[in-house]
Amino acid sequence: MNRDTRINWINRLILPVLNVLTAFAATAIIFVIIGVDPIEAAEILLYGAFGYQEGLGYTLYYATNFIFTGLAVAVAFNAGLFNIGGEGQAYIGGLGTALIIFAIDPNTSAWIFIPASILGGLLFGALWALVPAYLQAYRGSHIVITTIMFNFLASSLMVYMLVNVLREPGNMSPESQLFPQNSWFPFIHDLSTNFGFVMEESPLNVSLFVALFFAVIVWILIWHTRLGYSLRATGLNSEAAIYAGIKPKRIILITMCISGALAGLVGINELVGYQHRIIMDFHFGYGFGGIAVALMGRNHPIGIIIAALLFGVLYQGGAELAFELSNISRDIVVVMQGLIILFCGALQYMYKPWVINALAPIQKES
């Protein structure tokens, strides 16, 4: 292996693994301080996340959300855009999904409902990202600022929609009525029963396959299409891209729409897959979590799937931990996520000089 490929593998594999291990070590120290046996905690966490079918179902269910938002951030990142607005795009995408479902006749077949609800999420997510993209491309407003502001706008808009328009009469919670049953995505445990396997119930639904499908699409799009090439060229150097006949402004618009559309699919998993109604704050934390997932996954679909799984484990295993151990509160889970983001995001290249010295030293010419 020559030095460049070694460095490539160090960046892609060894550093993320080291960073995650460091985060776990830091968590273990906190556990010791608050009087929890870290080995026992790790066992509970892993058992809760993988040890039984229901736990695994929840893990994959949470991971599905993170795949969508992770892909969204990664697409934008490959074009040099930092999309902080996954939170708002996911929220509005869910609104699009719900509006389309309520617009369709309840007796329509599931074969119409499924693509229509996916399209609703894609469309509304994309539209919500289009405005910041336009402002970035043609008016020079920085995308980080505008997308984060759009998160607040989304939140206010959804409060209005849920409280005044969609709320089911007589319900005190801001929730819509149930979606028509034909529109519900099948649960994996129901599907498996049809094939003769009995599985424990969990919220895991076919949205996981939708997420994996879009992971493949993103991979093809970015590395195997002309658009993907223009997108990466714009990300690497938008001035230079112009000389290759690429129009960076157009690329910004298109990229952000794709990014927003992907984030908009969170509602598919959460609402059509599990809650079966649109509720307040269903998107909460997944948009921002997606940034960490994309960072850890090095903006590559395979890395994102693995990182999303890790976050799914933290969500489900962390809940299990708070359930089993009375001296661990739900806030510990947030601390663990924070440590992972700290070591994988902010300090991602901390070990790089040492690892490169150890594994890929500069060869002296003999």
Partner: protein, 349 residues
């Protein structure tokens, strides 16, 4: 030989059976319940609604019976249902769910585990294994409204609600009736903090609303807003005006400016559900706890003793007795979603 062997086996297994059933009998006698509670997403230390369940329910039950109550604080809507089902699966019961937002989660968990006993507070879920406990907040609010009107020198009193839902309007409506019962010319300023769950935990905005109400002349402000109330009491204390707490007895939070608290005994309701589970007489169904049942009340303790004169105390207790006796009927906002002019109340004093 064969027969005797067989006989022996039968005899022995019979003995085993007897011994087994005796053991079983003993264990059922000693069987302990595994009580549990699932808090609202606001968390158990909100100094108000959820904390009342913790302090007057969970801690008290543990102290009285030695039985630990398993507590869950869900972080998102998925986990509400997940934790209810997991508790049920592990054989917990009775399981108390705190707050109206748990309704859809309770509905699906109770259907999935029809043998588990669930209790929901502040909401009605009509299933054969669900006990729904609601409170007549309008009655308690009526009392503190009377007190507020007596204490007010400006003739203006305030109300700060949390999330704008019929339940909180019920508080406001009871308060308004009580204040007007005491002083027909009183002006009541009302503000809601927001229309989402975040409104339960926004002390900053609670403080701002209180300041603006005080600027508009109010000198007693009643908060029915969960954690948002902390900001209301602080603002009232800063400006030297009075505040009224809610759910828990919050008089201790700003001693000297907390006029009273409208106590809602959610802790007792949870305690009773577990106690009934322990005694084996837990019943599903619907309970509405008002002044007569001791479900709501006003709080008088060492922190507000000096603020409440003997005349005020006598007056409030007189009104309380009249409500319990049925001489005063407090209109319930949620019965028709309006706060119409109260019927049958004599405004003359």
């Amino acid at each position: 030989m064969k027969y005797t062997l067989l006989g022996k086996v039968i005899k022995q297994s019979g003995l085993l059976l007897v011994a087994g059933s005796m053991l079983l009998g003993v264990t059922t006698l000693q069987a302990e319940i595994k009580p549990a509670v699932v808090y609202d997403t606001a968390g158990k230390f909100d100094k108000s609604f959820n904390e009342a369940v913790f302090r007057n329910g969970v801690l008290k039950f543990k102290a009285d019976t030695g039985i630990r109550v398993t507590e869950i604080e869900p972080t998102n809507s998925t986990q509400r249902e997940q934790s209810l089902k997991k508790l049920a699966k592990r054989g917990h019961g009775p399981i108390v769910a705190v707050g109206f937002s748990m309704a859809s989660a309770i509905e699906s968990a109770a259907k999935a585990y029809p043998d588990t006993h669930f209790t929901i507070i502040d909401m009605v879920v009509g299933l054969p294994n669900v006990q729904s406990v609601v409170f007549k907040e309008h009655e308690g609010s009526f009392l503190v409204g009377v007190l507020a009107a007596m204490k007010s020198e400006t003739g203006v009193v305030g109300f700060v609600g949390g999330m704008d839902i019929p339940l909180i309007r019920r508080f406001a409506c009871g308060y308004e009736q009580g204040a007007k019962y005491q002083n027909n010319n009183i002006e009541i300023l009302q503000n809601m903090t927001g229309s989402t769950g975040a409104a339960w935990n926004n002390p900053t905005k609670g403080g701002e609303l209180t300041r603006s109400q005080i600027e508009a002349g109010a000198d007693v402000v009643y908060a029915a807003a969960g954690g948002t109330g902390i900001g209301v009491y602080q603002a009232a204390a800063d400006l030297g005006k009075y505040a009224i707490g809610v759910d828990s007895n919050q008089n201790y939070m700003q001693p000297g400016t907390m006029l009273t608290s409208m106590v809602k005994r959610v802790g007792d309701a949870s305690y009773n559900s577990w106690q009934a589970g322990l005694d084996g007489n837990w019943k599903a169904g619907f309970q509405a706890l008002g002044l007569a049942e001791g479900g709501v009340d006003w709080a008088l303790d060492e922190h507000n003793r000096e603020l409440v004169t003997a005349a005020m105390e006598a007056r409030v207790n007189d009104v309380k007795a009249k409500i319990i006796a049925g001489d005063i009927t407090v209109h319930d906002y949620m019965s028709d979603n309006t706060c119409a002019a109260p019927q049958g109340i004599n405004f003359s004093n």
